[in-house]
Symmetry: D2
Subunit: 341 residues, 4 copies
């Protein structure tokens, strides 16, 4: 018996990746996928990579969520829409939300960063934050998972072992860069090809909505009291996030000491790969891996963290969480080999 | 005394290039540049490459064109808008139109390919087709110039010597490829960076609006009776057109015979460079050059033609034509060195 | 019991793709992979996408091929090296050669196009040409398969239905474009990033080594007597081949007639997808699909064919052939979903 | 009377840019350009962008430098070669060296970072560091100029006003990113197109050779005592450097206070443009501009600095320095408009 899963919001890049992964997941059957603007159209007409691989068609979001008889519902909707869907979801139907709607337990922080009222804080309280590697046990028992943001994933996986072991002192600077798919499937000025292909620039200084999410989770991982300076930049590639994290350790540490700490922390985490030197987004693209490397000089420590923003930073991690929530091996359907080149 | 020039439609890529070229043209003063949606804004706020180089501001298209006291007016408006402007232009003001509105003398062909009624065929009759290298003398005396399309420029410069000398027999196949700036400055699905950067595809088979333009001009250059198969494709670069032209000569010809023919035909054409082997869009980008190469095998002849779609394919050729219309050296303001890389 | 396969030449891009595909192939165990210059190194040190996914190490090509007890040997060596390996391979060990060494049955054509003597024409006679879709039955029974070239694959799949049904008259022009991975994993002037990223140019006019391969196979598919004009170009993407094929049909044909012909010809060919309008390399990248589209105007017919040069154009087709040679489902291990974007 | 200038090392990208700029410089005549491996070849055969624009041919480095009767000599040689040339240069011939050979006054630092012995420290003492904006007066009177490194230029222009005014406290983190042309014109693994086009990674952590250069000059600009954490990364574009500089001010400062400080410091510096928000490498490519932007939050200050690595980061600044050394307007030949897109 396969799980019956639904995807609300299947036309964006998050939905595209969920479809790509779940179509090949041996324990899953996709029961429905919605996209209001494409309702009635073949999925493979929008995601032409899937042509020949699925007969699925997009539907509208149905009125009666009970009647769908789903086991698991993925929400890959624009920010704000899950706020309206979640209160209508039957209690027995597990939900994984890829948006930012239910990540923050601080209503004020949500409203400041997302610029909208939060109308479902009661439901929010049931959500478990879905950073698999730091929150595995809670996710196993969760009915509701708030899947992390892409920048938050790269940053948190880079910092968690240090914070959990109380290694840090002083402010932490995160210089983060993302590919253009992070801006979504809808054309816009900042993703216009003639501009973007020769472009690199910073945006949203100090104010990115992933900042409160990162700080909230660092406090949950350990005793986080440092100042966080977080800066996002745009890269002229389609996929990938690279975070360069500048920290200071309480005492001088060698790279091999740091590596040992990470090895210990991530010993059961297949998808975190500790690399020599710097990772490269080229080696994680289309995969669920987070590659982490280091450089240390006395108390100065630099951590490099690289993911595919749409996989480990979104749909891949969502499937990883689904696997845990239903008692499957965390890696099921996620052994993706990437490619060279 | 400098020429007073105006640019109508200064916010698109054609306008951007006109500004780039005319700001440094020693015989020209830009008297006004319009962009309705940006009226009042500094030009350098939209074209941030020009920040620090000009104090110009965008205006709306003025009611009274006479009062502007212009010597030359460039129209870089979306297709269809010049149809409305041109009839209002004072007789003494020279006009260079970069759109397709006045290129075709066959009203039916215009209406079929541009999908709109032609409301100014009387004015059209005054326009000289602005392919400088084939039409130089007529341009010198022209009051109205219809600047060629980008694909038409690359194709016509590749074919003109052969047609003028009646070398061809049989159908001609043109496989043409363009960079993303050819789609304009407005974001759209086909120029969305995450898609475009790994993309190559064909579009508008048999029906591209440059086809009647090319055929019209080939008939003017020589005795053109061949069938033309013309196919456009999209390249994942910002700038550049590359046309591969497959022809058959009446008799077997060596590459050096062909080269001699072109050398003769283009002996006074500084901007046509005959190269060894294949040209590369990399070597003409941001310049007004058209690089042409050949390969021949008996009666089979392949001509390669490469331009920058925004320079020789639009604004550069427009300035070249302005130079001729006002008695300047054709090269004035157009000695652009490109760059390596 | 899994098949024991070996890969000779595992460090190039062909080898990289074989590893990516065979590591996840459920009926296969990779017994060894060679790379003389990396002997002793972990495979995942060279193909860093595979880090964490395999413990394989590169070895040298062993002296005693018998002792390996392999079922299937893939040769992904530089052109010319398979000539020396194949005569040493035990009769019972099936071989799939990805190079050009054994594709041509005409020794003179081989020597002209590859610039070397053919020292194993006797062995060549045993090779079956591995274009799966046109040669399926022969491949099923083959001990030796010469895997097609990437350009040849795209071109032949585009032309086969027309030639098999004797639809064509007159010369055929193929304008083919390839991504930079087609030049291999070794850095060279034409793949130097600062140049290549803004580049498009033609190369090897009339003389590409895939020409005799294409002509040989067209003669085997049907009654091919047309002249072939074949031109290769370089695209600024990593992966993908796009062939625009210009043909003339004996009689005027509509697109739907052409489509019906192709549907019939490829009705059992999962990996050939007939698309509306033009295919796009973006939708086949990292997959084994060949996407084909058409445009027709009276007797003029244009066929568009798009593949990933390293998958359907190399390693994917090799695995497809292995599947047939060992009685597996042709699709086994090859249901690759590509990605969007 | 034009200046007679020579270029030693004209085949690399630094030489390519010098040629591009000096060919159009109205006060300059290029008397010779060397490239040992291309001696005898036309410059335009190597730098095909210059085809039709110059008849210059590459020569070998001549024995007798006196006989050349040059006014100014540019050295654009690989690191280490200027060490051998400079001692042979006649005293009256002005030299601008684009390499790192003469930038550091600390012999130990040079030898540690460049991995070679410094054999001309006596000559080094005569060199003025050529960061035009901070060193203008000294450059005017200099006979020998050590042109800054590309990363150093972007970083120093970003930090100079703060250091000169003693605004900073605590460590400074510089996260710097460069395009692929920074690795030179010679193909290498890290600039192999199939890898690089989807790549982003860090390299040379803590040890980049521009670190001592930056620290040396910051000490000359003001009272620099902070710790510098400097990290270099590779971008998948051809041109551009973007430095994100994380600093802390002694007291909380608003963005407008910071902007006023920079406006004052750079009031006579045409090539430094203070932008709103973030600069973008897209807007400085092929120009001599350095675009600087800011974000401030209490004592946290982030400075963004963007240049073209080959122009303001190399050849453009060299010409700017030449202009000063010979009493010309600093901007002469350097009003480059960039392009959009």
């Amino acid at each position: 018996m396969k799980l019956r899963v639904g995807i609300f919001g299947g036309s964006g890049y998050g939905g595209a990746e969920l479809l790509r992964l779940l179509l090949l997941h041996s324990a899953v059957e996709i029961a429905l996928v919605t996209a209001n603007e494409h309702a009635g159209k073949a999925v493979s007409e929008v995601h032409r990579n899937l042509y020949g691989l699925t007969e699925l068609r997009f539907t509208r979001v149905p009125e009666d969520l009970e009647a769908l008889e789903l086991d698991c519902l993925f929400l890959a909707l624009p920010h704000g829409q899950a706020l309206e869907v979640v209160p209508r979801v039957p209690a027995g139907l597990k939900v994984i939300d890829l948006s930012g709607d239910f990540r923050l337990s601080d209503q004020g922080a949500f409203e400041r960063h997302y610029g909208r009222e939060h109308t479902a804080m009661q439901e929010q309280a049931e959500f478990v934050y879905g950073l698999t590697e730091t929150n595995r046990e809670a996710i196993k028992g969760a009915r509701r998972v708030a899947n992390p943001g892409c920048f938050a994933t790269a940053t948190l996986l880079g910092l968690a072992p240090l914070v959990a072991n109380n290694f840090l002192s002083g402010r932490v600077v995160v210089d983060a860069k993302t590919g253009s798919s992070g801006s979504g499937a809808k054309p816009a000025a900042n993703t216009h090809h003639p501009q973007r292909m020769n472009s690199f620039y910073a945006y949203k200084p100090f104010t990115h909505q992933h900042v409160p999410e990162i700080e909230q989770e660092l406090r949950s991982v350990g005793d986080w009291t440092s100042e966080l300076v977080f800066m996002t930049h745009s890269l002229p590639v389609a996929r990938g996030i690279f975070a360069t994290i500048y920290a200071e350790t309480r005492d001088a540490r060698s790279e091999s000491q740091i590596r040992a700490l990470y090895q210990d922390y991530y010993q059961d985490s297949f998808f975190v790969r500790l690399v020599k030197g710097s990772p490269d987004i080229n080696w994680v693209k289309t995969t669920n891996f987070c590659d982490i490397g280091f450089a240390a000089r006395e108390r100065q420590l630099v951590i490099f963290s690289a993911i595919d923003n749409l996989v480990k930073g979104a749909a891949g991690q969502a499937v990883q969480n689904m696997n845990l929530m239903f008692g499957f091996d965390e890696k099921m359907g996620l052994i993706l080999t990437g490619s060279n080149p």
